[in-house]
Symmetry: C2
Subunit: 382 residues, 2 copies
């Protein structure tokens, strides 16, 4: 049905009406005090969200542009880096690093499992000459619905002393606790179409003073992604290049909503949504792709065995206008992913599982008793 | 007055209501057939606007991101390039080239004058060993309101045979004739917040087959700005990274408006707006910064001698909510710039000059007879 689409993919995520209407406000000049005031407020609220006193810079880019900036501003060709790889986005960091001639050492885990922090500890503790310049962790691996133990890994990096902690928090900020300062996260990357509840087009990079020290000796050529230009302009709440002010005005409204809710309440809600989704899926007797111990509060991956993941997605879309994500790379066709990130409420999970019940029945899946999915969700929401 | 702002800066430019409301439509999944269909239509209409059969790629970036992509995808360290410099944006191309270690040879003209095509001819004809790999021209120099003779310069580049023609058409596309194929323009760069009548956040790069040949041997590391990723994804009307689909849906509406008007009508309108603006300014006895022979159809720069340019801008904003642009770099405080690019009608020029009359009177400027500015504009609009 036209205009009835319900996004349950890990981005773009649903956008509240207030933000949609803010997007439709006429753009303003980006060299005016009106803009500067708005950007100042947005920046302050981003710092609150990132739990940091560091700079939080805004780029006109998708998350990938912000990822690349997070890497090339603080490293030089040949630098040894550790990259956690247990999904598509971890692999992407490795790919970017290799294109730039970094000495990329991957610490892997099977897709669907979490990274083992002890493997990082071994490498870091064995690096007596302090050659490791950065450790890159994808906090929430969107491709598999797995959350990595960033807190423990960042402790090992801190003990190493030299390496920067670079974090892909694209789908974790706004869903789960990311205390940037408390965990000494040097560079934290994210993007607007995720927990921020606005459409795509804005990338974010938080940068610590330790990272700015590393910036001074970093040798990759860069202009558009040169973060020092953003830092300098941000001192007066401007951007070095024309910013997407409509998105920023939208973000102004959603950050205000988030502040009114409070961080704890936001994290608790995502935890509840995750638990309810997982309980519903278990009741439907469909295998969850990630173990409970590393389940992401932002996205749940399901790996149906005797029934096609893509057939489920197609029918969810056709009958109920619910968009679910598919698998990526070698998981294409093998999993489906339910996004519960950002502007998602208890009702949405109920609605999704109830629809899934109908679709599974149509597809002839007899592994569950109709109604039990919704019962399990309701139990977990109470 | 709140919400009463009238943008007469060279970007962001005014956005029609249809596009503003399109921006407020809920984002859709960017891996869906619905998205692909929309992107296919937008791409086709961009090709119409660029008058080309070449690829026209869309990046989530400001114009500067697209500029950098246009350079680093087709050149290698040490390559000799000619860069036309007669304003801030020409200088920026030179700066990016130098950061990347290109052998940048600037061909300059005083800010406010146009580039002399014969200087390009001399360099190109003298290059018997075909070492010049690219000639970069800022078609419409936004910082000074000067249009360069791209047609003549591109003829000389074509005669050279080896060099690519890279064009900054950021503020010329949608205002003035840019026949990409007819003039053999290899790489053409622009951005959404200009003649396209949508807010900032989308960069465009048109790429010829000759440029794609050069791509094969280009050696700069790149990922987010790697245009081949965009080309490959565009074959199925997708983007390699999450696109700002709200802006694209807005662009879909404005391109449709442009198609209904027709290119000739759009160019004629900008020509008329320019002539009316210049006639009005002359009647007010304020010096125009650029000569009639190289005046931009997108923006008119005014260089008041006995009266402060910034005082005029401040009062235009305060009394009439009209935003005019100031000077950049060494022209700060010395000129003001009136944007008449994109969604601008005859009425807007009348309104601007009428307001300017009031402001000049308040500032005590006695060099004109009140009323004559508006008379001159009306005469040029009839």
């Amino acid at each position: 049905m036209q205009d009835k689409q319900m996004l349950m993919i890990p981005g773009p995520t649903p956008v509240p009406e207030t933000a949609l209407l803010a997007l439709a406000k006429h753009p303003i000049g980006h060299r005016t005090s009106e803009f500067s005031q708005m950007m100042g407020e947005v920046t302050q609220n981003l710092k609150w969200l990132y739990q940091t006193h560091n700079d939080v810079l805004m780029l006109t880019s998708s998350g990938t542009g912000a990822m690349e900036a997070a890497m090339i501003n603080f490293l030089s060709p040949g630098d040894r880096i550790l990259v956690g790889c247990n999904g598509k986005f971890g692999e992407r960091w490795g790919e970017v690093g290799e294109i730039y001639g970094l000495n990329v050492e991957k610490i892997t885990a099977e897709w669907g499992k979490s990274l083992n922090p002890e493997l990082f500890a071994q490498k870091l503790q064995g690096d007596k000459q302090k050659q490791i310049k950065a450790v890159i962790i994808t906090h929430n691996e969107t491709s598999t619905g797995v959350i990595n133990d960033l807190e423990t890994i960042s402790t090992y990096v801190r003990e190493h002393g030299e390496a920067l902690t670079i974090v892909d928090a694209v789908t974790s900020i706004g869903a789960v606790n990311v205390p940037t300062d408390e965990w000494s996260l040097d560079v934290v990357v994210s993007a607007s179409q995720k927990g921020y509840m606005v459409p795509p087009g804005l990338g974010f990079v938080a940068v610590s003073s330790k990272a700015w020290e590393a910036y001074k000796t970093a040798k990759f050529p860069k202009y558009y992604l040169d973060l020092d230009r953003y830092r300098q302009a941000a001192q007066n709440n401007f951007t070095p290049f024309t910013p997407p002010m409509n998105l920023m005005v939208g973000l102004q409204t959603t950050l205000e909503m988030m502040k009114q809710a409070g961080l704890e309440s936001i994290f608790t809600r995502h935890q509840r949504l995750m638990q309810a989704t997982r309980a519903g899926i278990k009741a439907l007797n469909l295998p969850l792709f990630a173990d409970d111990s590393c389940a992401s509060p932002a996205i749940t991956a399901v790996a149906p065995q005797k029934i096609s993941a893509d057939a489920i997605r197609t029918l969810m879309h056709k009958r109920f206008d619910i968009a679910l994500a598919g698998g990526q790379n070698h998981l294409t066709g093998k999993i489906l992913r339910i996004g519960h990130l950002g502007f998602v409420s208890d009702r949405d999970i109920l609605c999704c599982i109830a629809s899934l019940e109908g679709v599974l029945q149509e597809l002839g899946w007899e592994g569950f008793t109709p109604g039990t999915g919704v019962v399990a969700v309701n139990k977990n929401l109470s």
